[in-house]
């Protein structure tokens, strides 16, 4: 397949865009990457994603697919090599459920933790550490949520592997340590050092700067 057949519209800092890049890497698919400026969205992006006007958008042979996890499922179903999902429908359902659990239950309190302080921050921390314990149990006997290889849940959760250390540095809080969550801690290291991910991460210094600004903006709103 020529790279021109596959285009990915994204922004460098978006974890949602990275999910798609990791999936394309798993399947060894060549693509052309187009960096968008969200303050000045291209006409092409608005044409391909009129409902949400967001990245990522994958365009395959001229047809757009939107929403990161829907794009990942499309990639899985269109290219049969190197599976992202388990074959068994029940195991697949468990993976889909865990993915939804991460999006709906885990992400909001983690974001609340990062954008608040004091009692609000403590409460958010209590919430999401309960959910981290669920993920810790899921990893028992496995290197990745997908088993021996990176799978659907790993891709969805993957941004946590590089965002959590940034949260820890900025808030001076320990979140995922070897003592508290040994399996999750090991998973983060394994994920970050895998072939799929290693060379496809946003630059740390720029992310650190960006996230610091975000936290400052949220905390100054409260004052």
């Amino acid at each position: 397949m020529e790279a021109e057949e596959m285009e990915l519209f994204g922004i460098w800092s978006s974890p949602y865009v990275l999910r798609v890049i990791w999936a394309l890497n798993i399947k060894k698919i060549k693509y052309k990457y187009i960096e968008e400026d969200l303050n000045n969205k291209s006409n092409l992006l608005l044409h391909y994603n009129p409902v949400y006007k967001k990245v990522p958008v994958l365009v395959y042979k001229g047809k757009p697919i939107c929403e990161s996890m829907i794009i990942v499922e499309f990639i899985e179903e269109t290219w049969k090599n190197d599976s992202i999902f388990p074959k068994d429908p029940y195991e697949k359902a468990k993976a889909r459920f865990l993915a939804k659990f991460v999006e709906d239950k885990l992400s909001p309190p983690m974001w609340r933790f990062f954008t608040t302080k004091g009692k609000d921050q403590e409460e958010a921390y209590e919430s999401f550490t309960d959910y981290l314990a669920i993920l810790e149990r899921e990893l028992e006997g496995k290197e990745f949520f997908g088993g021996e290889n990176i799978g659907f849940v790993d891709i969805l959760l993957g941004c946590m592997s590089y965002v959590v250390p940034i949260y820890e540095e900025i808030t001076d809080f320990e979140i995922i340590t070897k003592e508290k969550f040994p399996l999750l801690h090991a998973w983060m290291q394994a994920f970050l050092s895998s072939d799929i991910v290693r060379d496809n991460l946003p630059p740390r210094d720029e992310l650190l700067y960006r996230y610091r600004k975000i936290r400052e903006a949220f905390l100054s709103k409260d004052n």
Binding site: V51, I65, E67, E77, P89, Y90, K92, R96, F97, I134
Partner: protein, 227 residues
């Protein structure tokens, strides 16, 4: 057909998420045992099968639980291969899933604000709903159902908007669905509710409106207590 198959569905009579699973099971001709849950006094079985969310619907197939209605629909389609609910083509599947998440995340949130909200929050909810209905209306142009000539996955997922949105409008005293602004969507509601699969598989309307009226009052009391 999957041989030696035991299928149980834990549900609640007024829940649209439960009904969409029932529609899918009936579309496929799958026999199942239905267990009505009292959501104010959840059974130990439900809590065992769904310890994380503690919610209905839960599908239990040969003793193994599957939770979350959209996850259940995909599981049903993959396990019982005949009479597919989702399209076969992967691009069409992506489109179907796109509309499903649009409706289940965006429209549901806007409907919740329109129903429970007051003042500016309510107005904002209705405004968003109208923008979303426009998008759905455009998607339906030239089609009887989202899936084409017969009901498919997207129709089952959007299905709550054919019945429960009208119920919420009546119980919550607001209006978003408008036949002149959204002619294709209004026609779809009619086609969907008249389809033999759906017509005989809906909760009683008056009882549902009353249930939602009480639900809304309870919501207002809860808000008042929080303040």
């Amino acid at each position: 057909m999957v041989p030696n198959s035991e299928v149980r569905l834990f549900g609640m009579w007024a829940s649209p998420a439960v009904w969409r699973v029932e529609w899918a099971l009936k579309m496929k001709g799958i026999e199942f045992e239905y267990i009505e849950e009292d959501v104010s006094d959840k059974s130990s079985s439900l809590l065992m099968y769904n310890p994380i969310n503690k919610q209905v619907p839960v599908l239990v197939h040969n003793g193994k639980p599957i939770v979350e209605s959209l996850v259940i629909l995909e599981y049903i389609d993959e396990t019982w291969n005949d009479k597919p609910i989702l399209p076969v083509d992967s691009y069409e599947r992506a489109k179907a899933r796109f509309w499903a998440t649009f409706v289940d995340v965006k429209c549901r949130e806007a409907a919740r604000k329109s129903f429970f909200g007051e003042g500016e929050e309510r107005e904002n909810g209705i405004e968003n709903l109208e923008i979303q209905l426009k998008a759905l209306d455009e998607e339906l142009e030239g089609k009887k159902f989202f899936a084409g000539n017969s009901i498919g996955y997207t129709d089952l997922v959007v299905g709550w908007m054919a019945f429960w949105l009208g119920v919420a409008e009546e119980a919550g005293d607001f209006k978003a669905v408008n036949s002149s602004k959204f002619p294709f969507f209004t026609a779809w509601i009619e086609n969907f509710l008249q389809d033999p699969l759906i017509k005989n598989n809906l909760p009683p309307r008056d009882k549902t409106v009353e249930f939602f009226r009480l639900f809304r009052q309870a919501g207002s009391c809860a808000k008042a207590n929080v303040k």
